[in-house]
């Protein structure tokens, strides 16, 4: 890239982080792509510990969790936050946790146009 050209950025976007039970993340990411046209997400796996566990045996133990991180424009943040909240059933017991935080700027990610190639 020509160093004179400023990198395309989106200013003041939001980062939404979702902590979900194991194996729940991929379906959410696919739905974000097909229904909300969000083409870039990160998923990683971790271990989570919470007091709100489903039974006495696992109380205080770690459980595997999926973590999704998605950056969206500020105008769409509330819409996407709400969408994920209900789509991932975070409103159900042991459904997970979602939070949103401000970001200063983000690079623009575009899927290459392959219509001529295909």
């Amino acid at each position: 890239m020509n160093p004179q050209t400023p990198a395309p950025v989106i200013k003041n976007p939001k980062r939404i982080v979702v902590i979900l039970p194991k194996d729940h993340a991929l379906a959410i990411v696919e739905n974000l792509h097909t229904q909300k046209n969000i083409n870039t997400c990160n998923i990683h796996r971790g271990r989570g510990r919470s007091t709100a566990v489903s039974d006495v045996v696992s109380y205080g133990n770690y459980a595997e969790v999926d973590v999704i991180s998605v950056i969206v424009e500020a105008e769409r943040a509330d819409e996407i936050f709400e969408y994920i909240f209900f789509e991932a059933e975070i409103n159900q017991p042991h459904g997970g946790f979602i939070y949103q935080m401000p970001v200063e700027k983000t690079s623009v990610f575009k899927i290459p146009d392959l219509s001529e190639v295909i």
Binding site: I19, H44, R49, F81, F85, I90, M101
Partner: protein, 126 residues
């Protein structure tokens, strides 16, 4: 109608330490009032290279701890975690607080009911 009860006044504590050090930090955070924690593995670099031969004592594999806590508790939990992880020792790790705009999770109906009938919220709910 579907409704989200949004938690505001929360903060995210992120703590990056050497692999194996996370558990005692989380125990300290929970003792100080944190409700949960998420941990994942990562690989880090920085001080290890600058320490020269002493750098072998710093593990390249890291654990990253994420804890969301209320703003009221954040300073206390941060301090407890800091000392539990010996972060005042060079090379042990780093931690920071990020402002969270909003958060949401499942809230049991009985707690929601209690919140709705609280004197402070009655006026707002009218």
């Amino acid at each position: 109608m579907r409704k989200i009860t949004v938690l505001s006044d929360v903060a995210l504590i992120t703590c990056i330490v050497q692999r194996g050090a996370a558990d005692k930090i989380i125990v300290a955070a929970k003792a100080a009032g944190a409700q949960g924690a998420t941990v994942y593995f990562a690989r880090g670099m920085g001080v290890r290279e600058r320490l020269g031969i002493l750098g072998v004592a710093v593990d390249v594999e890291k654990e990253v701890i994420n804890i969301v806590v209320s703003s009221e508790q954040v300073e206390r939990i941060f301090e407890k975690m800091y000392f539990a992880g010996d972060l005042d020792t060079p090379g042990m790790g780093i931690m920071y607080i990020t402002r969270v705009e909003k958060a949401a999770t499942y809230i049991p109906p009985e707690i929601l009911e209690r919140l709705d009938t609280a004197p402070d919220n009655k006026e707002e709910n009218k």
